[in-house]
Symmetry: C2
Subunit: 112 residues, 2 copies
């Protein structure tokens, strides 16, 4: 890391996409969004904290559902605009009750 | 899938984030962007095809570098706004020569 810290490239809304991956199974669980403060809180607390675009507020994953994400590592990509979390996921990551949000497979012809 | 096909929720720029994961090791390799046509081409050809926001053009991964991504599966998340690809990655996914773009670990204090 440079003495200046990492070069984070937030989008026009001040957000970065954050991919959460199960640290044990390596399953990709979900993608949510972080602003600088959500990322700072995630690093400081070890609890995955996102910015809810729909509710306009910080969202400690599992705070209401109990489906928490204990953070094992936080990585930044080469161009500084995407975060990868490895987490210990309690219960389902998805609000539908599925373990992962990515339960719908697309096939050729599904998209015009 | 409904008879109407999947409900894709593109962002204001007509794009979805697409996470590429190694199908064998489950390593998360990169995140890039797809519009509807890039997604259609990816499904039709089995070669990961993104929309380059910097160059403003379609980008068949590996077309120039040889570091192709043969698509094993394409999944959509629960709210229709993120794609997950499982790929067979030839060589390095990252333009830096790293296998994955996520080679920088962040720690508490790195982000003010």
């Amino acid at each position: 890391m440079s003495p200046m810290g990492p070069q984070l490239k937030f989008n026009a809304d001040g957000l970065l996409p954050a991919v959460a991956q199960d640290g044990a199974t390596r399953e990709v669980l979900m993608l949510a969004w972080m602003d600088q403060e959500a990322l700072r809180r995630t690093l400081a607390t070890g609890r995955a904290t996102y910015w809810s675009r729909s509710r306009g507020e910080y969202w400690v994953k599992g705070e209401t559902s109990g489906h928490t994400q204990a953070v094992e590592s936080v990585r930044l990509d080469c161009d500084g605009d995407t975060i990868l979390l490895r987490v210990r996921q309690e219960g389902a990551a998805c609000h539908t009750g599925n373990r992962t949000c990515f339960f719908t497979e697309l096939r050729d012809g599904d998209v015009a």
